[in-house]
Amino acid sequence: MNFRKYLKVYKKFLHTSLASELEYKTNILVDLITAILSLVGSIFLLSIFFQNNGYIGGWKFEQALIIQAIYTILNGITNTWFNPNLTEIVKHIREGTLDFVLLKPIDSQFFISLKKINPSGFLEIMLGFLLLFFCIKINQINLNLSFLTLSLITISCSICILYSLWFFISTTTIWFVKTWNAIEVLRSFLYIGRFPLNSFSFSLRIFFSVFIPIAFITTIPSEVFLGLSVLWKILLEVIVATVFLINSRKFWLFALKFYSSASS
């Protein structure tokens, strides 16, 4: 793979999608306001849960805020990259414009996963990081190299798992043509990821760890922040992320053999 070329193409992707979004100023403004209100609303909801209970599932409010911060960062990444690109796959397949992607001398998964960005998602990522720094302060977390490395690894793995799940569902469009609902279900599961895994019943915990690994996405990175993590969980998250990423790639290449393009 020619990395210099891919970097050059990605710069062009950034440039063209920013320029496209900036054509509609009001839309950007509304998106930015929505991002702020959504975070304020989420923190307010969380504070209501903790009003009468000091602890939920063994987590204090200040600790649960870390999950909210990581959720906000991930949601920002979702809104910046996954939402504009991966929902477009369905459109590409239904309308047959995937033809243009497949005929370019560039990796098709790279192209359809990164072509667009939604700049308003950046604000959400920034707000998430601001909340995370605030949580580090109020929870008196000691910032050291091993902590930063582990946080980076677990958050990167979370992004990989989320991307792979979303990409996997979008790929099934090649057979099922319309899969909006499945993506909405995934988004609702991600919404659940704002709460500590321990706050759910045993059966739900198993479901969210084994079948739809939402638990890995927010809870494990949060445990790293609180010093509650155990090595096997982090290793497991790395393994799950690697397996998901490799399989999403294999699944895409397999699915393309069944692509029949749209009729003209």
Binding site: K5, A19, S20, Y24, F100, L102, K104
Partner: protein
């Protein structure tokens, strides 16, 4: 000797198609138990195309023309048979193969809707690994050939269909491919835009010796661009050869309108043994076989007092229309 650039042998393609009965009952049945059947849309076809050739694919809607083009450029996997394009198996979509080809579809677009076309051109240039200087040079050259200038800097959504199509062509040709697959490129364009596009394709073919495979329902596209046509009927090739031979075969007679000096001459001509289509006063229309036109006209001019005459070619659309409903032309 000119090399074959496309080689297709015993190619077939089947699709699984689901069908639904009408009404609520049919909808519910379709939802719970979808009935699919395998439909063979391309049936055991073989052909070769030489480098630099312009070949038109003719056929009715649903005959399989677009499916053939999509298999040739590697978008659809064939069910049976083999395809070699420029020495590559298209469905493997190797980088060097993709750099050699392009697909232009009249009804689909790749330009970024909210931005001027120039942004899409530079994006494509980076995908094809062209540096900025080379990209600029090619954009300049192609925009001159396509006669577009200011349009390059206007958002695509504000361009007319003709301007958009020219920009689509530029975006699709920036990497200077030597095989062009065009699927109804003039669809929806006005007469002038169609003519300009045809002129451009002729020029591009002449200057670069590019091979062009074209499907179109506008007969003018086919007649002005293609010497060779491949007629597709229900997934099979019904004719593969020169366009003029096909036209001769399909239309063996010409109609000649003869204006005689007097009505008596017209009556004399009417009774002289020619096949008469109609006669109005001193004007008479006769049908003459293509291979006897010269001798028949000599006889008429020598024996009758003729004021004027017109040789009418049958409308090409009408002639080609026969291809769309018939099968097997043994030329």
């Amino acid at each position: 000797m000119v090399q074959n650039i496309i080689d297709v042998r015993n190619l077939s393609k089947s699709f699984d198609i689901s069908s639904k009965e009408p009404g609520l009952k049919g909808t519910i049945k379709h939802f719970f138990r979808r009935q699919t059947k395998s439909l063979k849309v391309i049936k055991d076809i073989s052909f070769e195309i030489k480098e630099g050739e312009i070949v038109g694919f003719l056929g009715a809607n649903g005959a399989g023309k677009t499916t053939i083009l999509k298999m040739l450029c590697g978008l659809i996997y064939p069910s049976e048979g083999s395809i070699l394009v420029s020495g590559y198996l298209p469905f493997r979509r190797k980088e060097n193969f993709l750099k050699n080809i392009t697909l232009i579809m009249g009804q689909k677009q790749q330009l970024i809707w909210d931005l001027p076309p120039i942004e899409s051109f530079y994006l494509n240039a980076s995908i094809y690994d062209l540096d900025k200087f080379e990209a600029k040079k090619r954009i300049k050259k192609l925009s001159e050939m396509l006669e577009i200038d200011e349009e390059l800097f206007i958002p695509v959504r504000k361009l007319s269909l003709g301007q958009r199509m020219k920009s689509e062509l530029l975006a699709a040709l920036i990497h200077e491919p030597n095989i062009l697959f065009l699927d109804e490129p003039t669809l929806g364009l006005d007469i002038n835009a169609q003519r300009n596009l045809r002129k451009f394709l002729q020029k591009y073919n002449k200057e670069t010796n590019a091979t062009i495979c074209l499907t179109s329902h506008y007969m003018k596209d086919i007649t002005s661009l293609c010497k060779r046509v491949i007629c597709v009927h229900e997934g099979a090739i019904s004719y593969d050869g020169k366009l003029n031979l096909l036209l001769k075969k399909l239309s063996p007679v010409k109609e000649i309108l003869i204006v005689c000096r007097t009505e008596e001459d017209a009556i004399k001509l009417e009774n002289s043994g020619f096949t008469v289509k109609n006669k109005i006063n001193n004007e008479i229309t006769i049908k003459i076989e293509n291979n006897s036109i010269t001798s028949s006209l000599k006889t008429i001019l020598n024996n009758f007092d003729i004021e004027d005459l017109f040789i009418n070619e049958p409308p090409i659309d009408e002639v080609i229309g026969k291809v769309l409903i018939k099968n097997n032309y043994d030329i």
